[in-house]
Amino acid sequence: MFASTAALWYARPVPLDGGARSIFEDFARRERAVLLGIARKLCLGGSFDPEDLVQESLERAFRQRARLEGQPDSARRAFTRTAMTNYFLDLCRKRQTERAAADPGPAVEAVPAPDRAEPELWAAVSDEQFLAAVKKLKPEKLQEAYRLHARGMRYREIARQLGAPEGTVGAWLTGARDQLRQLLSEAPS
């Protein structure tokens, strides 16, 4: 029945401005799920609202829509994810500054944002390149751990599945990321 819904409504005589708008909306809908997954982890156990993080980054991307139009999907998502990270770091710094003001003492002093490195690298990484890089991860257990983690498994579950201590899983994942960064920066764009 809902196929018919779709047909009926999608085909309703409504202007669609050549699809540009709906392309961004489709992107935002897809991207939101990924961002929220990451944001929940960044905000875990704290007082920042992951929804706020996601919303803000999508709005930032929306404001830059003209600039991102015509660029590959990889550029758009890289931009949005960087925007979310930057906003998150801004929140952390801001709160640290407020804490320091409220309670002068041995609190950590907020440092200004560092130069944002390598944005071009991420904007150019396609799904295929990324998958090819994952395939090259060595040793095999490390690659296996990385794949399991990407599917949403916690360290503990991966450790159980691969018969390794949790600490080793953490080290594998860190190693996998180092390798991936290396492989992707070498990959021809």
């Binding site: 029945m1 809902f2 085909a11 909306e25 156990g45 007082s47 609202d49 640290q96």
Partner: protein, 578 residues
């Protein structure tokens, strides 16, 4: 796990993976704020997590426990797998309850409490409220709170004012708040005048519901955050929510935790029909813990979210019933109260084109009568009669083809709709031919063919649909001037009195897309506001959603702030928070 690890940088991965216990995660965030190295590493870490999610999350899992992780990233179905269109978005996500913008459980305060909130916790809310006045009075030599009617048990103005002493919370009650308020005492005003405290003077007038008197003082006050917050209050009182949005945003850009500005921003968003965006701003006020304001903000946010949820639920019911009726699974309800008429007419037309025999056509007569009763015409009944008067030998095959085109998984293809129209023409099923042409892309249809079919029905509904198609064809051909002239006349008719027999929502949207030039901003905003109001009144959630989206697009050049607000509302309504 209680001892801190020797190398704090080493925790970055476990933190970003959500593997640190809450208190360690909080500690790491504090570390992160001061660590340039970790800050530089985090963006790459997030990008990798995103790419993994994009490419690997869908792989089959051999292990058993993967689905048990409560903190697992959202596994929303990819957009491509869902039926397109806003209705489908809502319909397919039906009972998941939670309002779209509700913060996830456990997330509470975004910003740390201010001193006043702490005082409130320590000495009690009421005492703290009094304390604030005393302190303010002592430090600033403030006039008596009565200057801003702050001594009264209720306030007459819903908006908040920039002057702290005027911004004491009292419940909002129009009648009691403004009751016989005396004019502001002149000596007090003179004192403020000599100190050039223009915002405080303006607020004395705003508190009395006199925005025009306040205006010259705010003009002199310039662009300080408190002045901008009060200016937003003035805009709201004058019924200018777009201006209020700008002024509140400007205030917040200068002073992000200025609660009166956040509050007024929320009211502006609400006035624009952006309920969920408004609720999010109210959350921020609620979280700040200001006596009175916090509770009012919380209640208001809840009310806004509940209203959206109610509208969505009702809409899903309507669409569900409508589609079941269209596909013949259930009869059309006899009572169409509370149902947007264009929606029912579309479903009715769909059912009509699917009806392959005289029997099936006749079965639609009660539904046609119900529709006509609501719209005050006889178009639906006559549509059935016209269909019945056609030679019906070949109708069944054409109707079956129509059903198959419309129920195709990917939506009806352009080519199949055009082929269907030709086939229906051959079989002399003009109603199906008309229906196929109305659904086909405007630019592919000879306008005179559609016009002739619509004119022959003499039904305002089909004429309005054909006109919408004609306007879009003109747009596609680059003749925006003619398109605008055509559709503006139609929208004017729609805005005059209720015309339930016309597809007014679609006409308004077409007109809005034609107002894309910055100089047409005023027209776009006015048309958008009226269409939004109409959609709300009708309970047409689909029209509302499409308006959010169209307005985001139309105001993109002329008004990026507003555009972002519309866009954000659209995503909030269409995405679901599990």
């Amino acid at each position: 796990m209680s001892a801190a690890p020797p190398d704090p940088h080493a925790d970055l991965d476990r933190f970003a993976d959500g593997e640190l216990p809450p208190e360690e995660a909080e500690r790491f965030r504090a570390h992160l704020a001061g660590c340039a190295r970790c800050q530089a590493a985090l963006p790459g870490r997030v990008q990798l997590a995103g790419l993994s999610q994009d490419t690997l999350a869908g792989e089959e899992t051999s292990g058993a426990g993967a689905d048990l992780d409560p903190r697992r990233p959202e596994q929303d179905a990819p957009a491509a797998a869902q039926p397109p269109g806003a209705v489908a978005d809502l319909a397919s996500r039906r009972p998941e309850g939670a309002p779209a913008a509700a913060p996830s459980p456990g997330a509470t305060v975004l910003r740390p409490a201010r001193w006043r909130a702490r005082a409130a916790a320590a000495v009690g809310v009421a005492l703290a409220a009094g304390l604030a006045v005393v302190i303010a009075g002592r430090i600033g030599g403030e006039p008596d709170p009565s200057l801003w009617l702050a001594d009264r048990p209720a306030r007459a103005v819903e908006a908040r004012l920039g002057t702290p002493a005027a911004d004491l919370h009292r419940p909002y009650e129009v009648a009691r708040g403004a009751e016989a308020a005396p004019a502001p005492p002149l000596p007090e005003l003179a004192k403020l005048d000599s100190k050039e405290r223009w915002v405080a003077i303006a607020d004395a007038y705003l508190a009395r519901g006199a925005p025009e008197t306040a205006r010259p003082y705010l003009d002199r006050a310039g662009g300080a955050p408190d002045a901008l917050a009060s200016r937003a209050a003035m805009d709201l009182m004058l019924g200018q929510p777009v201006e209020a949005l700008h002024h509140a945003n400007q205030a917040l850009a200068k002073k992000p935790d200025l609660r009166p500005a956040t509050w007024n921003l929320a009211l502006a968003l609400r006035a624009l029909g952006l309920s969920l965006a408004a609720a999010q701003q109210l959350d921020k006020v609620a979280a700040a813990g200001e006596p009175g304001w916090s509770a009012e903000a919380k209640a208001l946010a809840e009310q806004l979210r509940a209203d959206v949820q109610r509208r969505k639920d009702h809409w899903i019911e309507v669409v569900d019933a409508c589609l079941r009726a269209a596909s013949g699974e259930a009869p059309f309800p006899a009572d169409l109260k509370g149902v947007p008429l264009p929606v029912w007419r579309l479903c009715f037309d769909d059912a009509l084109a699917r009806a392959g025999t005289a029997e099936e056509l006749k079965r639609l007569l009660p539904a046609a009568e119900a529709l006509d009763k609501r719209s005050g015409g006889d178009g639906a009944r006559r549509a059935v009669q016209r269909a019945l008067a056609q030679p019906l030998q070949e109708r069944e095959a054409v109707a079956r083809e129509y059903t198959s085109v419309m129920t195709s998984q990917r939506g009806p293809g352009q080519e199949s709709l055009l082929a269907l129209a030709d086939r229906a023409k051959q079989a002399r099923q003009r109603d199906i031919e008309l229906q196929a042409l109305l659904l086909a892309p405007a630019k592919r249809i000879p306008p005179e063919r559609l016009q002739a079919l619509a004119t022959a029905t003499a039904d305002p509904w089909y004429l309005s649909l054909a006109e919408n198609q004609a306007a879009q064809a003109l747009m596609a051909a680059g003749d925006r001037g003619s398109a605008q002239a055509l559709i503006a006349a139609r929208v004017k008719v729609c805005e005059g009195i209720d015309r339930p027999e016309l597809d007014c929502p679609a006409a308004a949207r077409i007109l809005l897309t034609l107002y894309e030039l910055p100089r047409q901003r005023a027209e776009a905003l006015a048309t958008g506001a009226r269409a939004m109001e109409q959609a709300r009144r009708e309970g047409d959630v689909d029209a509302q959603l499409r308006l959010f989206s169209v307005m985001a697009n139309v105001t993109r050049e002329s008004d990026p702030d507003l555009s972002a607000a519309y866009f954000s509302e659209h995503t909030r309504w269409t995405t679901i928070t599990p």
